[in-house]
């Protein structure tokens, strides 16, 4: 058991990460999903590993949240496409919900992180539409490398002049969070 844990954390430490923390992010953090895929839950699991001070609800609404209590807004993008998760999700409603939250966050001076944690499997028409709609509000991108094979996120980050951190494996996000939040 100890061996297993040790292996897990050794591999964690060597997880390949490439980025430069060009801005520093602050806690507390508010996290939501944009598209309702499990990426946002993945974010919270990794956030726990670095003891990030966060609040999470995959369905936060702008009118129910006091953004002034937070310093950073993390939007984990991932639409479920035609799969199981497509049941009952209207992508336009979802975009409007998250956009309202992001505007509220911007007005309250929060930094906004757009995050793809599930790689190429969440690069589709709906997911891309969410990202491009939110792009003007982004302060930084956290992106799993295989979601950026066509340079989609690189282009967005360069156009807006905001930084982007990429990581090869989901656990690589741990190092990104540690760097950006000074953990």
């Amino acid at each position: 058991m100890k061996k297993l844990l040790l292996t897990f954390f050794v591999v964690l430490c060597f997880a390949f990460v490439s980025f430069a923390a060009e801005i520093l992010l602050e806690e507390p953090v508010i996290v939501t999903s944009a598209g309702q895929s499990p990426g946002a839950l993945q974010f919270t699991v990794v956030a726990k590993m670095v003891s990030l001070d966060y609040k999470f609800d995959k369905l936060y609404k702008a009118e129910d949240v006091d953004m002034s209590q937070f310093k950073t807004f993390v939007i984990v993008v991932g639409a479920s496409g035609k799969g199981l998760g497509a049941a009952g999700i209207d992508i336009e409603v979802e975009i409007n919900r998250v956009l309202a939250l992001a505007r509220e966050a911007k007005d309250n001076g929060l930094k906004i992180v757009i995050c793809n944690l599930e790689g190429a499997s969440r690069r589709g028409e709906s997911s891309d539409k969410i990202v491009t709609t939110l792009a003007p509000l982004a302060s930084v991108y956290f992106v799993k490398s295989d979601a950026n094979e066509d340079g989609f996120f690189t282009n967005l980050s360069e156009e807006a002049g905001v930084p982007m951190a990429t990581f090869e494996m989901t656990v690589g996000l741990k190092d990104v969070l540690a760097q950006y939040f000074g953990k």
């Binding site: 897990f8 839950l41 035609k82």
Partner: protein
């Protein structure tokens, strides 16, 4: 109506303008009637031969191919031990129990919920024939919808059987069954299926075990099988359930862990650890509105954490060409190759196909890592297995290396 049939029918009906009604066996039998007699007997004989041959072919799937008790199996029970009304029906099936040397958690592994998804069945069989438990108890049902193993889908052109060669040159045969319960067990399907949860589903889903949960103890066979599995979960205090499936490569939920919301963290840990082992798997949360599935209903109706695993199976998909035994075992198909080149698939696919050993290796490895994650999260309810076939060994040595010869 062709002439042959017209001749025969007119013998009975006598509706033809130029025909007289002459009873069979009458005295005034002329030559044309004699000819009709012969034609009738030949026709009936041909029908009988076809019916007999189809009957033999249909019932050839009723015998269970053997599964060998591995060194870890301490007991084999029947599903009817948890629901006696299943006894003597096609829904009754073996439950293999692997008890640990130390106490721990209880794990239920389901294969063959859909018998046209052989990767799930074979992964369960590999576990039965190889693993032992160091801590905790494992219940394995390799043919969860047993009735659906006793026939295959009409009009699909799928083989009834496929076999795997063992290192000693012998072969183990398995059935390629149906997604649905045999109509011999329950027939006909209603127009609308009034599900035990109060929702309504399409009528044909009444014979799909993975829409029948949590089941009805006094329901039709498929519902009773689901109820018996629910009884195992409750009476044996199952902590963790894993349901093994396969899916068409063109279906978005592919090479995936589908998880009940309570099992989210467990599934995420599993995905991250698998990724570190080089096995990419996607996560899908079970939508609350999708009723009758294991991950929804067992999760909602018990304390167990529930996940369902999917892996791509070209022999099950709609884009496939000729459905042969070879397609089942190699997954090589030129139409899927084209679909992959056109970017239409949700699983990596090339000339090497999607062989059964790869599909089984993915399942077995995901189960091992799922248990590793479980043990990290719930050290007071450990489920520790030994001799789980390794991913690379299954790929390099083949499935036969992990199946026991049948004497």
């Amino acid at each position: 109506m062709n002439r042959f049939c017209a001749d025969l029918c007119s013998g009975f009906s006598g509706t033809g303008k130029s025909w007289k009604v002459i009873p069979f066996g009458g005295e005034r039998i002329g030559d044309p009637l004699k000819k009709r007699y012969v034609q009738f007997i030949v026709f009936i004989s041909v029908v009988l031969v076809v019916v007999l041959l189809s009957g033999f072919s249909f019932t050839s799937m009723w015998k269970d191919p053997p599964i060998v008790r591995g060194p870890g199996v301490s007991e084999v029970k029947m599903l009817s031990d948890w629901l006696p009304s299943l006894s003597g029906t096609k829904g009754d099936t073996e439950v293999y129990i692997i008890r640990g040397s130390e106490p721990g958690g209880n794990f239920l592994l389901l294969g063959g919920n859909h018998p046209n998804e052989p990767g799930g069945t074979l992964a369960a069989v590999l576990m039965i024939e190889n693993v032992s438990s160091l801590a905790g108890t494992v219940y394995i049902i390799p043919r969860a919808n047993h009735s659906a193993f006793t026939h295959n889908d009409p009009m699909e052109g799928a083989p009834q059987f496929f076999s795997i060669e063992l290192p000693d040159g012998s072969r183990r045969t398995f059935r390629f069954g149906s997604r649905r319960t045999n109509p011999v067990s329950q027939w006909p399907d209603p127009t609308i299926y009034n599900h035990p949860t109060g929702s309504t589903l399409g009528g044909s889903e009444i014979s799909n075990l993975n829409r029948a949960f949590p089941g009805r103890e006094d329901g039709i066979i498929t519902e009773r099988v689901a109820a018996a599995i629910m009884n195992i979960v409750k009476q044996e205090k199952i902590d963790l359930v894993c349901d093994l499936h396969e899916s068409s490569p063109e279906y978005p939920v592919n090479n995936a862990i589908v998880f009940h919301q309570e099992a989210a963290e467990l599934a995420i840990m599993t995905q991250m650890m698998l990724e570190m082992e080089g096995v990419d798997i996607r996560l899908e949360e079970s939508p609350p509105s999708l009723r009758g599935l294991t991950h929804r209903e067992i999760g909602d109706n018990s304390d167990a954490y529930v996940v369902l695993l999917e892996v791509a199976n070209p022999s099950q998909g709609r884009l496939r060409g000729k459905t042969t035994e070879e397609l089942v075992t190699t997954g090589v198909d030129k139409y899927y190759l084209q679909a992959s080149k056109d970017g239409k698939l949700f699983a990596p696919y090339d000339e090497t196909g999607y062989p059964l050993e790869l599909r089984v290796a993915r399942h077995v490895t995901t189960v091992r890592v799922l248990l590793d994650s479980w043990n990290m999260m719930f050290p007071d309810r450990m489920i520790m297995l030994s001799d789980v076939p390794a991913y690379n060994a299954i790929l390099s040595d083949g499935l036969g290396a992990f199946l026991k010869p049948v004497s």
